[in-house]
């Protein structure tokens, strides 16, 4: 312990470069008459120069209702129910797994048997009633994960406000309908 050199003594601290984009911290001048004058005039002028330069730099505001920030492809917005593209049958078979997975308990499914005269879905049963109460939904996406047939997915719509709570209970027809794509989608690399 007496003559062993500590490893920190030989460590070269300046060898590591923080990178070009790292700006050194600019310390304020120490108090004093000369320094005060410096601060009063030079630093104030520097501040004024900074704000003046901002005038031409344009704005960062996104005027929301007119301009929208594009959402990512995996954005979890309003749900969508899907049909098979070839046959037009509903993918949902009324298994209620989504309702079971839902932590907010906002999905209600009432299943019914498919008959040869009235074939709604590809499976044995179909969802006679499929309602999502969007005022309770927390947009966690568990329903999407739970669904064995990819019948329900999370869409990109997030403009869901309404004047009445009962209007926020989306029925099967509303969820199956082509959503009004009001939300721009972010492209790759954006």
């Amino acid at each position: 312990m007496s003559d062993t050199e500590t490893p920190t003594a030989t460590l070269n601290v300046t060898a590591w470069s923080p990178g070009d984009d790292v700006i050194e911290v600019q310390r304020p001048p120490e108090p004093g008459a000369g320094r005060s004058a410096w601060r009063t005039f030079v630093e104030t002028a520097r501040g004024l120069k900074t704000t003046f330069g901002r005038i031409g730099e344009g704005v960062n505001t996104i005027s929301y209702p007119e301009e929208k920030v594009p959402v990512y492809p995996r954005f979890r917005g309003r749900h969508k129910l899907h049909r098979f593209e070839d046959t037009g049958l509903e993918k949902c078979v009324g298994c209620s797994l989504c309702a079971a997975a839902c932590p907010a308990d906002c999905i209600r499914v009432v299943a019914a048997e498919n008959t040869p005269e009235n074939r709604v879905s590809a499976g044995e049963r179909y969802a006679a009633v499929y309602e999502i109460n969007l005022s309770r939904c927390i947009f966690c996406g568990y329903c999407e994960v739970a669904c064995p047939f990819d019948a329900i997915t999370m869409g990109h719509d997030y403009e869901l406000s309404d004047y009445d709570r009962s209007d926020l209970i989306f029925t099967k027809e509303m969820l199956l309908a082509e959503p009004l794509e009001r939300t721009p989608l972010r492209n790759d690399g954006e």
Binding site: S36, L48, I55, G58, V59, N60, T61, S63
Partner: protein, 341 residues
């Protein structure tokens, strides 16, 4: 005993009334312009649009604001002193308008065979008149804050009183240099005395002191301690709403215009143009308004740049820096005036 200033000439009564109406109308129209300009410029400096919903590019926003305020209830706290509470904003706006009257917008013109000076009144005691109304303006804030019966209002008003008194001294002393150089107290006289060189050059220190003190006098950032939204809610106008608040707001911006006008007159050569250009008389008000808008822009610019001072910083700056500087400036000017004469 020689007179300090020559009052000039006789103007017929109808010319005076007409002048009063025109200057009042123009002055009051300028306030909304300053309002929207401030919000747009500050918005740009902060990387946002500023108001852009009402009218083209948001140009009608001040009208919407004023309309909103005027249609509001005339609320008054139960602890307030009713009469003073109603009168205080009027005092504020009255003093601002009165001070606006002495700003010269141009030289004497010949209109309809009459000699008309393009100013409300050319008082022979220009700066003194200005400071007199500045001192009365302090009652607008003080009475408003005190009569509100609210702690925040009272604190804001007390701060305002201390601040106005502290900075009025330096402001006055900064003008002494100019008055000594020009040998007149009349504002038109001061302008005509700047024919050779604007006073911003020989009186640069005085210009800086006057401008800095003006920020405090008009309760603008970085000296807006009377309002200090962060700590005093709104300062002296915390309890005000509706039309009375609009009056205070209006008076504040009119004060900015008045100060811009005084700086233009006293330091930037009023209606005079550099390089010996002598335009026809009708250009004079445009020149003055242009110079005023530069100063007003500077006020807005500073507001977007500097953070508010702490109270002790404000006081030590006023008494320990500005006042000695202003005194020194006056002394040096006095010596120079005596030596060069």
């Amino acid at each position: 005993m020689s007179t300090l200033a020559i009052v000039g000439y006789y103007e017929s009564w109808w010319v005076q009334i007409l002048k009063a109406i025109v200057i009042f109308a123009v002055g009051l129209q300028l306030v909304p312009v300053v309002l929207i300009a401030e919000r747009k410029i500050m918005g740009r400096m902060q990387g946002r649009y500023g108001p852009n919903r009402v009218g083209p590019y948001g140009a009608l926003q001040p009208l919407a604001d004023i309309l909103k305020l005027l249609t509001k209830e005339q609320f008054r706290p139960s602890t307030s002193v009713g009469f003073l509470f109603a009168v205080a904003p009027l005092v504020s706006i009255l003093t601002a308008v009165a001070a606006f009257a002495i700003i010269p917008f141009g030289n004497v013109q010949h209109i309809f065979g009459e000699r008309v000076g393009l100013y409300g009144v050319d008082v022979s005691i220009g700066p003194l008149y200005l400071f007199a109304f500045g001192a009365v303006a302090f009652y607008g804030i003080m009475l408003g804050g005190w009569s509100s019966g609210s702690k925040y209002s009272f604190l804001g008003a007390m701060r305002g009183a201390a601040q106005l008194i502290s900075y009025e001294v330096s402001q006055g002393l900064a003008l002494v240099g100019v008055i000594m150089t020009s040998q007149t107290l009349s504002l038109t006289g001061i302008v005509t005395a700047q024919k050779g060189m604007w006073y911003i050059v020989p009186q640069f220190v005085g210009f800086l002191i006057f401008l800095t003190a003006s920020f405090a006098e008009t309760n603008r950032a970085p000296f807006d301690l009377t309002e200090a939204d962060a700590e005093l809610v709104g300062g002296y106008n915390t309890e005000y709403g509706g039309g009375r608040f609009a009056s205070y707001y209006f008076a504040e911006y009119l004060n900015v215009l008045v100060v811009s006008g005084i700086v233009t007159t006293v330091f930037l050569g009023g209606w005079l143009l550099p390089f010996g250009i002598h335009p026809p008389g009708w250009v004079d008000p445009i020149v003055v308004l242009f110079k005023m808008s530069l100063i007003t822009f500077f006020f807005i610019w500073v507001r977007a740049t500097l953070p508010r001072l702490r109270y002790d910083q404000l006081m030590s700056f006023g008494w320990k820096v500005l006042l000695p500087l202003a005194t020194l400036n006056a002394l040096v000017t006095a010596i120079l005036v005596v030596v060069t004469h």
